[in-house]
Protein backbone atom coordinates (compact mmCIF):
# COMPACT_ATOMS: atom_id res chain seq x y z
CA UNK A 1 0.00 0.00 0.00
CA UNK A 2 1.26 3.49 -0.80
CA UNK A 3 0.89 6.49 1.48
CA UNK A 4 -2.31 7.71 -0.09
CA UNK A 5 -3.83 4.32 0.21
CA UNK A 6 -2.76 4.02 3.82
CA UNK A 7 -4.34 7.42 4.68
CA UNK A 8 -7.54 6.33 2.97
CA UNK A 9 -7.54 3.11 4.99
CA UNK A 10 -7.02 5.11 8.16
CA UNK A 11 -10.10 7.20 7.32
CA UNK A 12 -12.11 4.05 6.74
CA UNK A 13 -10.72 2.46 9.89
CA UNK A 14 -11.79 5.51 11.86
CA UNK A 15 -15.37 5.01 10.67
CA UNK A 16 -15.16 1.23 11.16
CA UNK A 17 -15.68 0.67 7.45
CA UNK A 18 -12.90 -1.88 6.87
CA UNK A 19 -13.36 -5.64 6.66
CA UNK A 20 -11.81 -7.69 9.39
CA UNK A 21 -8.45 -8.59 7.63
CA UNK A 22 -7.77 -5.00 6.58
CA UNK A 23 -8.83 -3.68 9.97
CA UNK A 24 -6.31 -5.97 11.66
CA UNK A 25 -3.67 -4.88 9.19
CA UNK A 26 -4.30 -1.19 9.91
CA UNK A 27 -4.36 -1.80 13.64
CA UNK A 28 -1.06 -3.58 13.39
CA UNK A 29 0.38 -0.74 11.31
CA UNK A 30 -0.78 1.90 13.78
CA UNK A 31 0.60 -0.09 16.66
CA UNK A 32 3.99 -0.75 15.07
CA UNK A 33 4.62 2.35 12.88
CA UNK A 34 5.04 5.70 14.74
CA UNK A 35 4.40 7.71 11.53
CA UNK A 36 1.04 6.07 10.94
CA UNK A 37 0.32 6.20 14.62
CA UNK A 38 0.78 10.00 14.52
CA UNK A 39 -1.32 10.27 11.40
CA UNK A 40 -4.06 8.32 13.10
CA UNK A 41 -3.84 10.56 16.19
CA UNK A 42 -4.35 13.70 14.09
CA UNK A 43 -7.47 12.22 12.56
CA UNK A 44 -8.81 11.41 15.98
CA UNK A 45 -8.04 14.99 17.10
CA UNK A 46 -9.85 16.37 14.06
CA UNK A 47 -12.89 14.25 14.85
CA UNK A 48 -12.80 15.41 18.46
CA UNK A 49 -12.53 19.03 17.36
CA UNK A 50 -15.49 18.63 15.03
CA UNK A 51 -17.45 16.99 17.78
CA UNK A 52 -16.66 19.74 20.29
CA UNK A 53 -17.27 22.56 17.89
CA UNK A 54 -20.19 24.74 18.91
CA UNK A 55 -21.51 28.22 18.41
CA UNK A 56 -21.72 30.34 21.53
CA UNK A 57 -23.76 33.44 22.05
CA UNK A 58 -25.40 35.29 24.87
CA UNK A 59 -28.89 34.38 26.04
CA UNK A 60 -30.43 37.39 24.33
CA UNK A 61 -29.35 36.17 20.92
CA UNK A 62 -30.95 32.74 21.33
CA UNK A 63 -34.14 34.21 22.84
CA UNK A 64 -34.44 36.55 19.90
CA UNK A 65 -34.03 33.67 17.46
CA UNK A 66 -36.62 31.67 19.41
CA UNK A 67 -39.08 34.55 19.47
CA UNK A 68 -38.56 35.21 15.80
CA UNK A 69 -39.63 31.65 15.03
CA UNK A 70 -42.72 31.88 17.28
CA UNK A 71 -43.71 35.25 15.84
CA UNK A 72 -43.35 33.96 12.32
CA UNK A 73 -45.55 30.95 13.10
CA UNK A 74 -48.19 33.21 14.66
CA UNK A 75 -48.09 35.54 11.65
CA UNK A 76 -48.52 32.62 9.26
CA UNK A 77 -51.50 31.29 11.22
CA UNK A 78 -53.14 34.70 11.35
CA UNK A 79 -52.60 35.08 7.62
CA UNK A 80 -54.25 31.74 6.96
CA UNK A 81 -57.21 32.59 9.20
CA UNK A 82 -57.58 35.89 7.36
CA UNK A 83 -57.54 34.07 4.06
CA UNK A 84 -60.28 31.75 5.22
CA UNK A 85 -62.55 34.08 7.19
CA UNK A 86 -61.68 37.50 5.92
CA UNK A 87 -63.73 39.47 3.41
CA UNK A 88 -63.46 38.10 -0.06
CA UNK A 89 -64.19 40.10 -3.17
CA UNK A 90 -65.01 36.82 -4.88
CA UNK A 91 -67.64 36.00 -2.27
CA UNK A 92 -69.12 39.49 -2.50
CA UNK A 93 -69.23 39.22 -6.26
CA UNK A 94 -70.97 35.84 -6.10
CA UNK A 95 -73.54 37.19 -3.65
CA UNK A 96 -74.23 40.19 -5.86
CA UNK A 97 -74.49 37.92 -8.87
CA UNK A 98 -76.97 35.68 -7.04
CA UNK A 99 -79.10 38.66 -6.03
CA UNK A 100 -79.04 40.01 -9.57
CA UNK A 101 -80.02 36.63 -10.99
CA UNK A 102 -82.91 36.40 -8.54
CA UNK A 103 -84.15 39.86 -9.52
CA UNK A 104 -83.99 38.98 -13.21
CA UNK A 105 -85.83 35.71 -12.60
CA UNK A 106 -88.59 37.39 -10.63
CA UNK A 107 -88.93 40.11 -13.25
CA UNK A 108 -89.10 37.55 -16.02
CA UNK A 109 -91.76 35.51 -14.25
CA UNK A 110 -93.77 38.66 -13.53
CA UNK A 111 -93.60 39.79 -17.13
CA UNK A 112 -94.44 36.31 -18.34
CA UNK A 113 -97.50 36.03 -16.16
CA UNK A 114 -98.71 39.52 -16.99
CA UNK A 115 -98.40 39.15 -20.75
CA UNK A 116 -101.45 39.56 -22.95
CA UNK A 117 -102.78 36.07 -23.39
CA UNK A 118 -104.26 36.84 -26.76
CA UNK A 119 -100.98 37.84 -28.26
CA UNK A 120 -99.24 34.69 -27.15
CA UNK A 121 -101.63 32.16 -28.48
CA UNK A 122 -100.33 30.58 -31.59
CA UNK A 123 -102.97 30.18 -34.24
CA UNK A 124 -102.23 28.54 -37.49
CA UNK A 125 -103.08 30.39 -40.60
CA UNK A 126 -105.42 28.84 -43.10
CA UNK A 127 -103.60 26.17 -44.98
CA UNK A 128 -100.91 25.74 -42.37
CA UNK A 129 -100.50 22.48 -40.61
CA UNK A 130 -99.34 21.52 -37.18
CA UNK A 131 -95.92 20.87 -38.61
CA UNK A 132 -95.52 24.54 -39.39
CA UNK A 133 -92.27 25.74 -37.83
CA UNK A 134 -92.76 27.74 -34.69
CA UNK A 135 -91.03 30.74 -36.13
CA UNK A 136 -93.67 30.88 -38.84
CA UNK A 137 -96.63 30.98 -36.48
CA UNK A 138 -98.77 34.00 -37.04
CA UNK A 139 -101.81 35.21 -35.16
CA UNK A 140 -105.02 35.36 -37.10
CA UNK A 141 -107.08 38.15 -35.56
CA UNK A 142 -110.39 36.51 -36.28
CA UNK A 143 -109.33 33.23 -34.76
CA UNK A 144 -107.81 34.93 -31.73
CA UNK A 145 -110.98 36.88 -31.04
CA UNK A 146 -113.04 33.75 -31.54
CA UNK A 147 -110.99 31.80 -29.06
CA UNK A 148 -111.00 34.62 -26.56
CA UNK A 149 -114.75 34.93 -26.88
CA UNK A 150 -115.16 31.19 -26.60
CA UNK A 151 -112.89 31.02 -23.59
CA UNK A 152 -114.67 33.85 -21.82
CA UNK A 153 -118.00 32.26 -22.51
CA UNK A 154 -116.94 28.92 -21.14
CA UNK A 155 -115.54 30.48 -18.01
CA UNK A 156 -118.61 32.55 -17.48
CA UNK A 157 -120.85 29.62 -18.13
CA UNK A 158 -118.95 27.44 -15.70
CA UNK A 159 -119.26 30.04 -12.99
CA UNK A 160 -122.99 30.46 -13.54
CA UNK A 161 -123.79 26.83 -13.73
CA UNK A 162 -121.99 25.70 -10.60
CA UNK A 163 -121.89 22.21 -11.86
CA UNK A 164 -121.17 19.31 -9.49
CA UNK A 165 -117.81 17.57 -9.75
CA UNK A 166 -119.38 14.13 -9.60
CA UNK A 167 -123.00 14.04 -10.53
CA UNK A 168 -123.60 10.59 -9.12
CA UNK A 169 -122.10 11.04 -5.68
CA UNK A 170 -122.22 14.75 -4.86
CA UNK A 171 -124.37 15.88 -1.99
CA UNK A 172 -125.43 19.32 -0.95
CA UNK A 173 -126.69 20.74 2.33
CA UNK A 174 -130.31 21.76 2.14
CA UNK A 175 -129.67 25.22 3.53
CA UNK A 176 -127.18 26.02 0.81
CA UNK A 177 -129.23 24.95 -2.17
CA UNK A 178 -131.47 27.99 -2.11
CA UNK A 179 -128.70 30.50 -1.52
CA UNK A 180 -128.08 33.08 -4.27
CA UNK A 181 -125.77 31.69 -6.83
CA UNK A 182 -123.09 34.34 -6.26
CA UNK A 183 -122.90 33.41 -2.58
CA UNK A 184 -122.52 29.75 -3.11
CA UNK A 185 -118.95 28.63 -2.57
CA UNK A 186 -119.48 24.94 -3.11
CA UNK A 187 -120.79 24.12 -6.52
CA UNK A 188 -122.20 20.87 -5.27
CA UNK A 189 -124.74 22.96 -3.32
CA UNK A 190 -126.61 23.61 -6.52
CA UNK A 191 -126.80 20.03 -7.67
CA UNK A 192 -130.32 19.19 -8.67
CA UNK A 193 -131.69 17.11 -5.87
CA UNK A 194 -132.86 14.47 -8.31
CA UNK A 195 -129.31 13.75 -9.23
CA UNK A 196 -128.57 12.93 -5.62
CA UNK A 197 -131.61 10.77 -5.40
CA UNK A 198 -130.87 8.75 -8.44
CA UNK A 199 -131.39 5.56 -6.51
CA UNK A 200 -135.06 6.39 -6.34
CA UNK A 201 -135.42 6.32 -10.07
CA UNK A 202 -137.70 3.65 -11.41
CA UNK A 203 -139.10 2.52 -14.67
CA UNK A 204 -141.91 4.97 -14.20
CA UNK A 205 -139.55 7.92 -14.44
CA UNK A 206 -137.49 10.38 -12.43
CA UNK A 207 -138.97 11.35 -9.12
CA UNK A 208 -138.39 15.02 -8.53
CA UNK A 209 -138.89 16.02 -4.93
CA UNK A 210 -137.69 19.61 -5.01
CA UNK A 211 -139.30 21.43 -7.78
CA UNK A 212 -138.70 24.80 -6.11
CA UNK A 213 -135.02 24.23 -6.47
CA UNK A 214 -135.30 23.66 -10.17
CA UNK A 215 -137.33 26.79 -10.53
CA UNK A 216 -134.89 28.73 -8.43
CA UNK A 217 -132.00 27.60 -10.55
CA UNK A 218 -133.92 28.41 -13.67
CA UNK A 219 -134.70 31.85 -12.41
CA UNK A 220 -131.13 32.52 -11.38
CA UNK A 221 -129.92 31.29 -14.72
CA UNK A 222 -132.38 33.53 -16.46
CA UNK A 223 -131.25 36.55 -14.47
CA UNK A 224 -127.61 35.81 -15.07
CA UNK A 225 -128.21 35.31 -18.73
CA UNK A 226 -129.93 38.66 -18.86
CA UNK A 227 -127.18 40.60 -17.17
CA UNK A 228 -124.35 38.55 -18.58
CA UNK A 229 -125.43 37.17 -21.90
CA UNK A 230 -123.77 33.93 -22.77
CA UNK A 231 -121.64 34.38 -25.85
CA UNK A 232 -120.32 30.88 -26.33
CA UNK A 233 -119.37 30.15 -29.86
CA UNK A 234 -118.01 27.11 -31.53
CA UNK A 235 -114.32 26.82 -31.00
CA UNK A 236 -112.56 26.34 -34.33
CA UNK A 237 -111.02 23.09 -33.24
CA UNK A 238 -114.46 21.65 -32.45
CA UNK A 239 -116.04 22.49 -35.76
CA UNK A 240 -115.32 19.19 -37.52
CA UNK A 241 -117.03 17.31 -34.69
CA UNK A 242 -120.33 19.10 -35.03
CA UNK A 243 -121.82 16.61 -37.48
CA UNK A 244 -120.95 13.70 -35.24
CA UNK A 245 -123.28 14.67 -32.44
CA UNK A 246 -126.50 14.97 -34.33
CA UNK A 247 -129.43 13.21 -32.71
CA UNK A 248 -130.09 9.71 -33.97
CA UNK A 249 -132.29 9.37 -36.94
CA UNK A 250 -135.48 7.40 -37.06
CA UNK A 251 -133.74 4.85 -39.19
CA UNK A 252 -131.12 4.44 -36.47
CA UNK A 253 -133.73 3.84 -33.85
CA UNK A 254 -135.71 1.47 -35.99
CA UNK A 255 -132.71 -0.59 -36.73
CA UNK A 256 -132.31 -1.76 -33.13
CA UNK A 257 -135.46 -1.16 -31.15
CA UNK A 258 -135.14 -4.26 -28.98
CA UNK A 259 -131.58 -3.55 -28.05
CA UNK A 260 -132.37 0.04 -27.23
CA UNK A 261 -135.23 -0.93 -24.99
CA UNK A 262 -133.18 -3.45 -23.11
CA UNK A 263 -130.42 -0.95 -22.65
CA UNK A 264 -132.89 1.64 -21.48
CA UNK A 265 -134.28 -0.66 -18.80
CA UNK A 266 -130.81 -1.59 -17.68
CA UNK A 267 -129.88 2.02 -17.32
CA UNK A 268 -132.91 3.09 -15.43
CA UNK A 269 -132.02 2.37 -11.78
CA UNK A 270 -128.81 4.33 -11.34
CA UNK A 271 -126.90 7.15 -12.94
CA UNK A 272 -123.70 5.22 -12.41
CA UNK A 273 -124.90 2.79 -15.01
CA UNK A 274 -126.04 5.63 -17.15
CA UNK A 275 -122.50 6.90 -17.14
CA UNK A 276 -121.75 4.31 -19.81
CA UNK A 277 -122.73 6.19 -22.94
CA UNK A 278 -121.80 3.30 -25.22
CA UNK A 279 -124.88 1.29 -24.19
CA UNK A 280 -127.27 4.16 -24.61
CA UNK A 281 -128.85 3.97 -28.07
CA UNK A 282 -129.06 7.70 -28.48
CA UNK A 283 -125.37 8.20 -27.97
CA UNK A 284 -123.94 5.32 -29.96
CA UNK A 285 -123.03 7.71 -32.73
CA UNK A 286 -121.32 10.04 -30.30
CA UNK A 287 -118.81 7.68 -28.78
CA UNK A 288 -116.07 8.70 -31.12
CA UNK A 289 -116.77 12.29 -30.38
CA UNK A 290 -116.55 11.73 -26.66
CA UNK A 291 -113.36 9.76 -26.91
CA UNK A 292 -111.59 12.21 -29.14
CA UNK A 293 -112.83 15.17 -27.16
CA UNK A 294 -111.64 13.67 -23.89
CA UNK A 295 -108.22 13.00 -25.31
CA UNK A 296 -107.83 16.43 -26.82
CA UNK A 297 -109.35 18.61 -24.16
CA UNK A 298 -108.77 18.66 -20.43
CA UNK A 299 -110.69 21.84 -19.88
CA UNK A 300 -112.71 21.75 -16.67
CA UNK A 301 -115.62 23.36 -18.46
CA UNK A 302 -115.62 20.56 -20.97
CA UNK A 303 -115.55 18.03 -18.17
CA UNK A 304 -118.54 19.71 -16.65
CA UNK A 305 -120.17 19.53 -20.01
CA UNK A 306 -119.48 15.81 -20.25
CA UNK A 307 -121.09 15.17 -16.88
CA UNK A 308 -124.26 16.95 -17.88
CA UNK A 309 -124.05 15.29 -21.24
CA UNK A 310 -123.97 11.85 -19.70
CA UNK A 311 -127.06 12.67 -17.69
CA UNK A 312 -128.73 13.97 -20.82
CA UNK A 313 -127.83 10.87 -22.76
CA UNK A 314 -129.20 8.65 -20.02
CA UNK A 315 -132.46 10.54 -19.94
CA UNK A 316 -132.59 10.62 -23.69
CA UNK A 317 -132.04 6.89 -23.84
CA UNK A 318 -134.72 6.37 -21.24
CA UNK A 319 -137.29 8.67 -22.78
CA UNK A 320 -136.17 8.61 -26.37
CA UNK A 321 -139.74 8.27 -27.58
CA UNK A 322 -140.50 11.54 -25.85
CA UNK A 323 -137.51 13.70 -26.63
CA UNK A 324 -136.60 12.40 -30.05
CA UNK A 325 -138.05 14.79 -32.56
CA UNK A 326 -137.51 12.22 -35.28
CA UNK A 327 -139.51 9.56 -33.59
CA UNK A 328 -142.61 9.04 -35.51
CA UNK A 329 -146.05 9.06 -34.16
CA UNK A 330 -146.51 5.44 -35.11
CA UNK A 331 -143.46 4.34 -33.23
CA UNK A 332 -144.51 6.31 -30.22
CA UNK A 333 -147.92 4.78 -30.27
CA UNK A 334 -146.58 1.29 -30.73
CA UNK A 335 -144.39 1.54 -27.73
CA UNK A 336 -146.60 3.50 -25.47
CA UNK A 337 -148.65 0.50 -24.21
CA UNK A 338 -145.51 -1.20 -22.98
CA UNK A 339 -144.47 1.76 -20.94
CA UNK A 340 -147.22 1.34 -18.40
CA UNK A 341 -150.09 -1.08 -18.13
CA UNK A 342 -152.03 1.44 -16.09
CA UNK A 343 -152.23 3.84 -18.99
CA UNK A 344 -153.41 1.33 -21.56
CA UNK A 345 -157.06 2.10 -21.13
CA UNK A 346 -156.42 5.82 -21.24
CA UNK A 347 -154.44 5.53 -24.44
CA UNK A 348 -157.04 3.42 -26.12
CA UNK A 349 -159.61 6.06 -25.26
CA UNK A 350 -157.41 8.75 -26.71
CA UNK A 351 -157.36 7.09 -30.08
CA UNK A 352 -161.11 7.49 -30.42
CA UNK A 353 -161.13 11.25 -30.80
CA UNK A 354 -159.24 13.92 -32.69
CA UNK A 355 -158.13 15.43 -29.42
CA UNK A 356 -156.88 12.09 -28.32
CA UNK A 357 -154.32 12.26 -31.16
CA UNK A 358 -152.55 15.09 -29.47
CA UNK A 359 -152.95 13.50 -26.08
CA UNK A 360 -151.46 10.28 -27.37
CA UNK A 361 -148.15 12.06 -27.81
CA UNK A 362 -147.95 12.77 -24.11
CA UNK A 363 -146.30 9.81 -22.36
CA UNK A 364 -146.63 8.90 -18.71
CA UNK A 365 -144.12 11.22 -17.18
CA UNK A 366 -144.57 13.63 -14.36
CA UNK A 367 -144.24 17.37 -14.70
CA UNK A 368 -141.28 17.34 -12.36
CA UNK A 369 -139.51 14.78 -14.46
CA UNK A 370 -140.08 16.94 -17.51
CA UNK A 371 -138.65 19.90 -15.62
CA UNK A 372 -135.65 17.91 -14.60
CA UNK A 373 -134.99 16.65 -18.10
CA UNK A 374 -135.40 20.13 -19.44
CA UNK A 375 -132.83 21.45 -17.02
CA UNK A 376 -130.33 18.79 -17.99
CA UNK A 377 -130.82 19.44 -21.72
CA UNK A 378 -130.57 23.15 -21.05
CA UNK A 379 -127.24 22.72 -19.28
CA UNK A 380 -125.87 20.67 -22.13
CA UNK A 381 -127.01 23.29 -24.60
CA UNK A 382 -125.29 26.00 -22.62
CA UNK A 383 -122.03 24.17 -22.00
CA UNK A 384 -121.46 22.72 -25.42
CA UNK A 385 -119.40 24.69 -27.81
CA UNK A 386 -121.17 23.07 -30.70
CA UNK A 387 -124.04 25.03 -32.22
CA UNK A 388 -125.41 21.83 -33.72
CA UNK A 389 -125.71 20.26 -30.31
CA UNK A 390 -127.20 23.42 -28.87
CA UNK A 391 -129.84 23.23 -31.56
CA UNK A 392 -130.44 19.58 -30.74
CA UNK A 393 -130.92 20.41 -27.07
CA UNK A 394 -133.21 23.26 -28.01
CA UNK A 395 -135.34 20.88 -30.08
CA UNK A 396 -135.56 18.51 -27.13
CA UNK A 397 -136.70 21.37 -24.94
CA UNK A 398 -139.33 22.23 -27.53
CA UNK A 399 -140.44 18.62 -27.56
CA UNK A 400 -140.69 18.62 -23.75
CA UNK A 401 -142.58 21.90 -23.87
CA UNK A 402 -145.13 20.28 -26.16
CA UNK A 403 -145.92 17.52 -23.66
CA UNK A 404 -145.55 19.59 -20.49
CA UNK A 405 -148.42 21.09 -18.58
CA UNK A 406 -148.97 24.82 -18.72
CA UNK A 407 -146.96 25.59 -15.57
CA UNK A 408 -143.96 23.60 -16.71
CA UNK A 409 -144.26 24.95 -20.21
CA UNK A 410 -143.67 28.46 -18.94
CA UNK A 411 -140.39 27.56 -17.30
CA UNK A 412 -139.36 25.60 -20.39
CA UNK A 413 -140.06 28.63 -22.50
CA UNK A 414 -137.67 30.64 -20.33
CA UNK A 415 -135.00 28.01 -20.77
CA UNK A 416 -135.56 28.00 -24.51
CA UNK A 417 -135.22 31.74 -24.65
CA UNK A 418 -131.96 31.61 -22.68
CA UNK A 419 -130.67 28.89 -24.91
CA UNK A 420 -131.55 30.79 -28.03
CA UNK A 421 -130.01 34.07 -26.95
CA UNK A 422 -126.41 32.96 -27.37
CA UNK A 423 -127.14 31.96 -30.90
CA UNK A 424 -128.32 35.40 -31.63
Amino acid sequence: MDLTDIKHRLSQYLDNRLPEPERRAIENLIRTDPVWKEEYRKMLALAAMADRFSLEADEKYWRERQQAVIDKIADDEAEKITEVTGPSYRGVFLKLAAVAASIVLVAFVSLYESRDIETTRGIFKAGETETTPLNNIALVPEAVSSIARDSASLEETAGLNNMPQDISTATAPADVRLAPIDEVKDRSALIPSELNQSESLSDEGVVITNREEIMKLTKLKNESATTKPVTAEIAPERMPLAEEIETPTLQDLKSAPTKEKAATKALAPKFEVMAEPKVAPAVIGRDSYYDSAREENTDDNLNEYFRWRLAADSLEARYFEIVSVHYSEAVAKSRRPAASSASTAKKQAMETSAESVEESRRPDISADSIQHMAHVFYQVGLLTGNSGETSAMRMRLERLAEIADSASADSLTILLQNLESPQK
Binding site: R41, K42, A45, L46, A50, S54, L55, R63
Partner: protein, 184 residues
Protein backbone atom coordinates in the same frame (compact mmCIF):
# COMPACT_ATOMS: atom_id res chain seq x y z
CA UNK B 1 -30.90 18.05 27.33
CA UNK B 2 -34.41 17.40 28.58
CA UNK B 3 -35.71 13.98 29.29
CA UNK B 4 -37.33 12.26 26.33
CA UNK B 5 -40.66 12.38 28.15
CA UNK B 6 -40.35 16.16 28.61
CA UNK B 7 -39.60 16.65 24.93
CA UNK B 8 -42.53 14.41 24.05
CA UNK B 9 -44.84 16.50 26.25
CA UNK B 10 -43.69 19.68 24.52
CA UNK B 11 -44.22 18.09 21.15
CA UNK B 12 -47.71 16.96 22.11
CA UNK B 13 -48.59 20.41 23.38
CA UNK B 14 -47.12 22.01 20.25
CA UNK B 15 -49.12 19.65 18.08
CA UNK B 16 -52.22 20.85 19.93
CA UNK B 17 -51.33 24.43 19.03
CA UNK B 18 -49.10 25.54 21.88
CA UNK B 19 -46.52 27.88 20.39
CA UNK B 20 -44.99 28.27 23.81
CA UNK B 21 -44.20 24.57 23.97
CA UNK B 22 -42.81 24.66 20.47
CA UNK B 23 -40.71 27.66 21.45
CA UNK B 24 -39.04 25.53 24.08
CA UNK B 25 -38.16 22.98 21.42
CA UNK B 26 -36.77 25.77 19.25
CA UNK B 27 -34.67 27.08 22.08
CA UNK B 28 -33.41 23.59 22.83
CA UNK B 29 -32.28 22.63 19.32
CA UNK B 30 -31.53 25.86 17.52
CA UNK B 31 -27.86 26.02 18.54
CA UNK B 32 -27.08 22.60 17.16
CA UNK B 33 -29.03 23.31 14.00
CA UNK B 34 -27.24 26.59 13.56
CA UNK B 35 -23.91 24.85 13.76
CA UNK B 36 -24.95 22.29 11.19
CA UNK B 37 -26.29 24.74 8.67
CA UNK B 38 -23.53 27.22 9.24
CA UNK B 39 -20.85 24.60 8.61
CA UNK B 40 -22.67 23.51 5.48
CA UNK B 41 -23.17 26.98 4.01
CA UNK B 42 -20.68 29.28 5.59
CA UNK B 43 -23.00 32.28 4.99
CA UNK B 44 -24.55 33.90 8.00
CA UNK B 45 -27.36 35.72 6.19
CA UNK B 46 -28.79 32.54 4.76
CA UNK B 47 -28.11 30.42 7.85
CA UNK B 48 -30.49 32.25 10.18
CA UNK B 49 -33.24 32.34 7.56
CA UNK B 50 -32.89 28.62 6.86
CA UNK B 51 -33.00 27.76 10.58
CA UNK B 52 -36.15 29.80 11.05
CA UNK B 53 -37.80 28.27 7.99
CA UNK B 54 -36.87 24.78 9.18
CA UNK B 55 -38.57 25.32 12.54
CA UNK B 56 -41.69 26.75 10.87
CA UNK B 57 -41.94 23.82 8.50
CA UNK B 58 -41.44 21.49 11.44
CA UNK B 59 -44.30 23.12 13.32
CA UNK B 60 -46.58 22.88 10.32
CA UNK B 61 -45.70 19.19 9.88
CA UNK B 62 -45.98 18.17 13.54
CA UNK B 63 -49.10 16.13 12.78
CA UNK B 64 -46.93 13.77 10.74
CA UNK B 65 -44.21 13.43 13.39
CA UNK B 66 -43.87 10.24 15.43
CA UNK B 67 -43.87 11.38 19.05
CA UNK B 68 -42.00 8.27 20.13
CA UNK B 69 -38.88 9.36 18.22
CA UNK B 70 -36.41 12.11 19.10
CA UNK B 71 -37.11 15.50 17.63
CA UNK B 72 -33.65 16.62 16.55
CA UNK B 73 -32.98 14.04 13.80
CA UNK B 74 -36.32 14.95 12.27
CA UNK B 75 -35.92 18.71 12.40
CA UNK B 76 -32.27 18.49 11.34
CA UNK B 77 -33.34 16.59 8.25
CA UNK B 78 -35.65 19.46 7.36
CA UNK B 79 -32.90 21.99 7.94
CA UNK B 80 -30.37 19.92 6.03
CA UNK B 81 -32.67 19.63 3.04
CA UNK B 82 -33.26 23.35 3.07
CA UNK B 83 -29.53 23.94 3.24
CA UNK B 84 -28.84 21.54 0.41
CA UNK B 85 -31.55 23.15 -1.69
CA UNK B 86 -29.97 26.49 -0.99
CA UNK B 87 -26.61 25.12 -2.05
CA UNK B 88 -28.02 23.75 -5.29
CA UNK B 89 -30.06 26.83 -6.03
CA UNK B 90 -27.77 29.64 -4.99
CA UNK B 91 -24.28 28.60 -4.10
CA UNK B 92 -23.83 26.58 -7.25
CA UNK B 93 -24.34 29.77 -9.19
CA UNK B 94 -20.98 30.87 -7.87
CA UNK B 95 -18.03 29.01 -9.06
CA UNK B 96 -16.20 26.73 -6.74
CA UNK B 97 -13.26 28.95 -7.34
CA UNK B 98 -15.03 31.87 -5.82
CA UNK B 99 -16.09 29.80 -2.84
CA UNK B 100 -12.60 28.60 -2.27
CA UNK B 101 -11.28 32.13 -2.59
CA UNK B 102 -13.76 33.17 0.09
CA UNK B 103 -12.69 30.29 2.29
CA UNK B 104 -9.05 31.11 1.79
CA UNK B 105 -9.86 34.70 2.56
CA UNK B 106 -11.45 33.61 5.82
CA UNK B 107 -8.47 31.55 6.65
CA UNK B 108 -6.00 34.31 5.78
CA UNK B 109 -7.79 37.17 7.48
CA UNK B 110 -8.75 35.13 10.48
CA UNK B 111 -12.34 36.21 10.18
CA UNK B 112 -15.47 34.18 9.50
CA UNK B 113 -19.11 35.20 9.20
CA UNK B 114 -19.83 33.77 12.62
CA UNK B 115 -16.72 34.84 14.44
CA UNK B 116 -18.77 36.59 17.06
CA UNK B 117 -20.40 33.26 17.90
CA UNK B 118 -17.16 31.32 18.23
CA UNK B 119 -15.50 32.01 21.50
CA UNK B 120 -12.48 29.74 21.40
CA UNK B 121 -9.72 30.55 19.00
CA UNK B 122 -9.05 26.97 17.97
CA UNK B 123 -12.71 26.57 17.10
CA UNK B 124 -12.56 29.68 14.98
CA UNK B 125 -9.71 28.17 13.10
CA UNK B 126 -11.51 24.93 12.81
CA UNK B 127 -14.54 26.73 11.38
CA UNK B 128 -12.42 28.63 8.92
CA UNK B 129 -10.78 25.42 7.81
CA UNK B 130 -14.05 23.60 7.31
CA UNK B 131 -15.52 26.54 5.43
CA UNK B 132 -12.41 26.55 3.30
CA UNK B 133 -13.17 23.05 2.07
CA UNK B 134 -14.81 22.57 -1.30
CA UNK B 135 -18.57 22.42 -0.88
CA UNK B 136 -18.72 18.75 -1.90
CA UNK B 137 -16.11 17.76 0.67
CA UNK B 138 -17.42 20.08 3.35
CA UNK B 139 -20.97 18.77 3.21
CA UNK B 140 -19.89 15.16 3.51
CA UNK B 141 -17.51 15.99 6.35
CA UNK B 142 -20.15 17.96 8.28
CA UNK B 143 -22.80 15.29 7.87
CA UNK B 144 -20.43 12.56 8.97
CA UNK B 145 -18.32 14.22 11.64
CA UNK B 146 -20.83 16.67 13.08
CA UNK B 147 -24.18 14.95 12.43
CA UNK B 148 -22.91 11.39 12.77
CA UNK B 149 -24.77 10.20 9.68
CA UNK B 150 -23.67 6.89 8.21
CA UNK B 151 -22.14 6.61 4.76
CA UNK B 152 -25.36 5.23 3.46
CA UNK B 153 -27.40 8.06 4.92
CA UNK B 154 -25.07 10.65 3.46
CA UNK B 155 -25.13 8.93 0.09
CA UNK B 156 -28.92 8.93 0.12
CA UNK B 157 -29.10 12.51 1.26
CA UNK B 158 -26.73 13.83 -1.36
CA UNK B 159 -27.78 11.32 -4.01
CA UNK B 160 -24.24 10.06 -4.48
CA UNK B 161 -22.67 6.64 -4.11
CA UNK B 162 -21.28 5.30 -0.84
CA UNK B 163 -17.87 5.09 -2.52
CA UNK B 164 -18.07 8.79 -3.37
CA UNK B 165 -18.95 9.55 0.23
CA UNK B 166 -15.96 7.51 1.34
CA UNK B 167 -13.51 9.25 -0.99
CA UNK B 168 -14.86 12.75 -0.32
CA UNK B 169 -14.65 12.17 3.41
CA UNK B 170 -11.07 11.01 3.10
CA UNK B 171 -10.21 14.12 1.01
CA UNK B 172 -11.88 16.41 3.53
CA UNK B 173 -10.01 14.87 6.46
CA UNK B 174 -6.72 14.99 4.64
CA UNK B 175 -7.16 18.70 3.85
CA UNK B 176 -8.32 19.60 7.33
CA UNK B 177 -5.44 17.76 8.94
CA UNK B 178 -3.13 19.64 6.68
CA UNK B 179 -4.78 23.02 7.46
CA UNK B 180 -5.05 22.41 11.19
CA UNK B 181 -1.84 20.44 11.72
CA UNK B 182 -0.54 22.94 14.28
CA UNK B 183 -3.74 22.57 16.32
CA UNK B 184 -4.01 18.82 16.22
Amino acid sequence: MPEPEQEKAWLLAARNGSKEAYGKLVYLHQKRLLRLVFMMLGRRDAVEDIIQEAFIKGYQALADFDLDKPFYPWISTIARNLALNYIKRDLRQESLEELEKTAVSFAETGESPLDDLIVKENEKRFARAVLALPEAYRTVFVLRMMENLSYEEIAGQLKISVGTVDSRLYRAREKLVEMLKDLL
